[in-house]
Structure formats: structure tokens, C-alpha cells
């Protein structure tokens, strides 16, 4: 087993365990912490694939900014432990079969593509930040600008909602 593959499995296991813990934990803060583990593990996976800029941004934006806001809001609201209820009818009759089906599809896909699992990453080659930004600001400039416009609209919406009525 090569080193990149070993690291891949460690990070993947960490991400999956974090995701399971996110759902199983009863306290919102613990769930949020599990989500941070998932984010950091994903950043490690990006790094393994040679996307160092994306990895750093993943941690800065998701791990740093967004999750800090989550944790901040949970603390501010002083949210306590959640109470468990019986699963609703929708969950029992539609949710569980659907989850099983999705798991089956993913499992089948993994089993079929077992040949390419051995090489999850082009080892050693890093995508330079310069090349990435060149692409972002030339070929993909319209999607990029549209996305930023979308975020701007969302910010304006948040301000309008948060504004006190005079």
C-alpha cells in the first residue's frame, strides 16, 4: 500500500466518522465540532489531489469562517441537548428505503470501479495558484462573477431582513 493511498484512507475514514458523529451527537456543539472534523479531513483530501489552494480556502472559509459562525450562534442561543423523538411516517416509509437505495448505488459504484481505487491521486503534482486564478479570471470569469453577484444579493437580503423598522 503506497503512502498517498494510506493517507487517503485515513482522511476518508476521518471524514466519514465525523459525518456519522455529526448526526449521532445529541448536543449541537458536538455536532458542529464533528462537522469541523469533516471539513478539515476534506481539505486534506483536496491537498492529496494536488489542489493546495482549494485545500487552504476550504479550511479558511468553511473551517474558519462559516463553522465559527455556527458555533457562535449555537453558543449565543445557548441551545441545549436535543430530544429524541420517534421517526415520523415520512421517514419510515420514504426516508429509510431511499437511504438504503442511495447506499446501494454508492456501494455498487465503488465495487465496479475497484480498479481505479489504487490510484486516487496524481501524486506529487500540485496545481499552482497562478494557473488556477488565470483560469478563474479568463475562462470561467462569467460563472465567477455571477456567483459573487449571487452572494452580494444574499448579503443585501440579510441586511434587509436584519434591519429594524423605523
Amino acid at each position: 500500500m503506497t503512502a498517498p493511498l494510506l493517507i487517503f484512507f485515513v482522511l476518508a475514514a476521518l471524514a466519514v466518522l465525523g459525518a456519522i458523529s455529526l448526526i449521532v451527537q445529541r448536543h449541537p456543539i458536538h455536532s458542529a465540532l464533528s462537522l469541523i472534523v469533516v471539513m478539515v479531513a476534506l481539505a486534506g483530501l483536496y491537498l492529496l489531489m494536488g489542489a493546495e489552494f482549494v485545500a487552504a480556502v476550504q479550511i479558511i472559509v468553511y473551517g474558519g469562517a462559516i463553522m465559527v459562525l455556527f458555533v457562535f450562534v449555537i453558543m449565543l442561543l445557548n441551545a441545549g441537548e436535543e430530544e429524541r423523538t420517534n421517526s415520523s411516517k415520512l421517514a419510515t416509509y420514504a426516508g429509510i428505503p431511499l437511504a438504503v437505495a442511495v447506499a446501494g448505488f454508492i456501494g455498487a459504484a465503488i465495487v465496479r470501479s475497484s480498479g481505479s481505487l489504487a490510484a486516487p491521486a496524481p501524486s506529487g503534482a500540485l496545481t499552482s495558484t497562478k494557473a488556477l486564478s488565470m483560469l478563474l479570471f479568463s475562462e470561467f470569469v462569467y460563472p465567477f462573477e455571477l456567483t459573487s453577484f449571487l452572494i452580494l444579493v444574499a448579503i443585501l437580503g440579510a441586511i434587509v431582513l436584519a434591519q429594524r423598522e423605523n
Binding site: H27, I29, H30, L33, I36, V40, A43, E52, F53, A56, V57, I59, I60, G63, G64, A65, V68, L69, V71, F72, M75, L76, L126, S128, T129
Partner: protein, 402 residues
């Protein structure tokens, strides 16, 4: 044995470097507390620590022993996982952030493995550093929340809000430097400042003075130091987020705080003050001997001060330290190769310690912000000024290109 070393050099060399760096940083942290207490004492016309060892020089050692042997009570109804995790996260992230900082220009080969003065060399070291800083909030926020104490919670909340607010200004203030250097790696940024050999005139501080002021203010806020130490404002919140922590766990928060001070000082040195570059033009050969010229008189002064110290221990210890310093200074003149190697590290250390002194100086001089002042200053002043700096720098660069 040799074949083994060569084969696993990529693993062994970094581990040795990490061990050396951690040893140095922890020692500097310990003596930084001594320097801080001494400097603040002299600002306030007191003597500061001077009981344990000559001039209180053994005080950090005594503090360390105290931290290890102190009782470590667990408050009732704390969230155990988060309570134990918080100091570890804080310390781990603070120490990790030092890994990407290059301390000198040299590259050398150990066991056939090419390495440099510093632990890791990454293409995007600045972004890695910001990523680690961004995670630093969790330690403080979790400590405040997990302690099951209202004051701690308020401290943690204040800290998260403050760090989110000032992180934006911190990141935006260095964009100007990045535009000038065209490089995310800290080594590349320093090498760009070599310029045409005019010494300090080609440092980034002159075109980026606004960026530097924004960076330093935001960085002080990020490290929770005076005048931005609201998360631990003792007159309002007892001790803020670390009220319920004692013994080694408290020490871990403390070490983390001092380590982040060192990281920020290193970063300011690298980004704006030419890193390991000498402030004098390369043609001035006498600057090669400046480390010796500083060390020898200082060592002689320590000997002179030591022989008339008030107790016997000081009369033995201080002249010994002074003699060692003088000997190192003289040795640097006698052995030119070592002198050449030490140049970069000397200037780097000199600049870092200047910033650390400024940190302490500010603590001795400035009053604490009020919370609403802190927020309006960060969002309504620092952030717009940093953005204006980015726009201004880009316009100038574009104008020069055409």
C-alpha cells in the same frame, strides 16, 4: 545506519527540526513572560520579578514548576470533551503556525536531504498560516463555552466575535504585499524585498505603510492582547474564557498566546520588514560584524553588572552569562563562516524581538477598548481602510505596468 538515515531523511530531518523549534519557542515563551513583567514593571516604576535568581531570571523556571505541581480541579457540570480539548487545540494550532515560517535564507543538505532554516516550505505558506489562524478561534470559544461559567461564556463569545471581525481586516491588509510580490510563499515575499541592494529602502513597509498599520492592529486583536484583550478583561469577566482553567491547562493557553505573539511578529517581519534581510546596503561590509559589536559590549556590561550584584549566586551566575555572551561575540569574529550563516537569523530575530517589545510596550501604555468601540473600529474603520489599500496598490501597480 547511514543508509537508513539517507532513506528516511525526509522523515528524520523534519522531526529533529520540529523538536529544536519547539524547544526554542517554549524557552522564548518562558522568558517572554519575564521580559514582559520586567518591562511593564519599569514602565510603572517598579522593579518587577527579582527574587528568584539574579534579576529574577529564574522566575520562568519557578513558574513552570508551579504550573506542573498545582492542583487541577475540574469544575462541576463542565462539558468534559470540549473542556479538555480546548487548551490542546489552542496550543497545537499556535505551535503549528510556526512551522511554515522561514527563519533564514540558507539551504543545506542533511543526510542527502535538502532542507532550510524552518520546518516546512509550502508554496502557499501565507494561506496555510491564515488557515491555521482561522481555526484558532475554536480553542477560545470552546474553552469559554465548556467551562459552565457565565464569565467564561461571555469571554468566549466576545473572542469569537472579535476574531471573526478582525480576521477580515487581517487578511485584506496583506493583499497589498501579495500584489507587490506576486507570490504566496513567505520565502518568495522576502526575496522580492532584496530589491537592488539598497537595504531597508526596498522593504515593503514604505509602499505598504497603510497595509502594515492595518495588519498590526488586526493582528493584535487576533492574538487577544491589550488594547484588544476583551475576552479576558479582568475588571469585567474575572479572567474571561480561561477563568475555570488551572495548572498546566491554564499554562497551555498562556504558552499559546505568547506563541501567537511570536508568529505575528515573524509574519510582520517577513511581510513588511524584509525578513532576514539586513537593513543596510549589501556594500557596507562592517554590518557583517554587527552581531559581534552588539554581543561583546552587552556581555561586558553583564559581567560589570554581575560582579557587584547583591547576592553570591548573582555574582557567580551573571558574570558567567556575560562571559559566555562575550565569547560568542568574539567567536563570530574569529570564525567568518559561522558569522555569515548567523547574519540572516540575527536580523530576523532582531526584528521579531522589536515587535515583541512593541507588544509589551502597548500593554504598558494603552487602555482597553470598550466592546462597541472595538466592533465599530474593526468594521467601520479598519476594514474600509484595508480595502482602500488594496484598491490603491492595484491602481499603482497597473499604472506602473503601462
Amino acid at each position: 545506519m547511514n543508509a537508513f538515515l539517507t532513506q528516511y531523511a525526509f522523515l528524520i530531518v523534519p522531526i529533529i527540526k520540529i523538536a529544536i523549534l519547539i524547544l526554542i519557542v517554549l524557552t522564548v515563551d518562558a522568558y517572554l513572560t519575564w521580559i514582559e513583567r520586567k518591562v511593564i514593571a519599569h514602565i510603572q516604576a517598579r522593579w518587577g520579578p527579582h527574587r528568584v535568581g539574579p534579576h529574577g531570571l529564574l522566575q520562568p523556571l519557578a513558574d513552570g514548576v508551579k504550573f506542573i505541581f498545582k492542583e487541577d480541579p475540574l469544575p462541576a457540570n463542565v462539558d468534559k470533551v470540549a473542556y479538555f480539548l480546548a487548551p490542546f487545540i489552542t496550543l497545537m494550532l499556535a505551535l503549528t503556525s510556526l512551522a511554515v515560517i522561514p527563519f533564514g535564507p540558507q539551504r543545506f543538505t542533511v543526510f542527502g536531504y535538502k532542507t532550510h532554516v524552518g520546518v516546512a516550505e509550502v508554496n502557499i505558506s501565507l494561506l496555510v498560516l491564515f488557515a491555521i489562524t482561522a481555526l484558532g478561534v475554536y480553542g477560545v470559544a470552546l474553552a469559554g463555552w465548556a467551562s459552565n461559567n457565565k464569565y467564561s461564556l461571555l469571554g468566549g463569545l466576545r473572542s469569537s466575535a472579535q476574531m471573526i471581525s478582525y480576521e477580515l481586516a487581517l487578511t485584506l491588509s496583506v493583499v497589498g504585499v501579495l500584489l507587490i510580490a506576486g507570490d504566496f510563499s513567505l520565502r518568495g515575499i522576502v526575496e522580492k524585498q532584496t530589491g537592488s541592494g539598497h537595504g531597508l529602502l526596498s522593504w515593503n513597509i514604505f509602499p505598504q505603510i497603510i497595509g502594515f498599520l492595518c495588519f498590526f492592529i488586526a493582528a493584535i486583536a487576533e492574538t487577544n492582547r491589550v488594547p484588544f484583550d476583551l475576552p479576558e478583561a479582568e475588571s469585567e469577566l474575572v479572567a474571561g474564557f480561561h477563568t475555570e482553567y488551572a495548572s498546566m491547562k491554564f499554562a497551555m493557553f498562556f504558552i499559546a498566546e505568547y506563541t501567537s505573539m511570536i508568529t505575528v511578529s515573524c509574519l510582520a517581519t517577513i511581510l513588511f520588514f524584509g525578513g532576514w534581510l539586513s537593513p543596510f546596503p549589501a556594500s557596507w561590509t562592517f554590518t557583517q560584524y554587527l552581531p559581534s559589536l552588539i554581543l561583546i559590549p552587552f556581555g561586558l556590561w553583564v559581567i560589570f553588572d554581575g560582579v557587584r550584584y547583591e547576592n553570591l549566586l548573582g555574582r557567580i551566575l551573571l558574570p558567567g552569562v556575560g562571559a559566555a555572551l562575550t565569547a560568542i561575540g568574539a567567536g563570530l569574529i574569529v570564525v567568518p563562516p559561522v558569522n555569515d550563516v548567523i547574519q540572516g537569523v540575527f536580523w530576523f530575530m532582531a526584528k521579531v524581538f522589536t515587535f515583541l517589545f512593541v507588544y509589551i510596550w502597548m500593554r504598558g501604555t494603552l487602555p482597553r477598548f470598550r466592546y462597541d468601540q472595538l466592533m465599530s473600529f474593526g468594521w467601520k474603520f479598519l476594514l474600509p481602510v484595508s480595502i482602500a489599500n488594496v484598491v490603491l496598490t492595484s491602481v499603482v501597480i497597473l499604472w506602473r505596468m503601462h
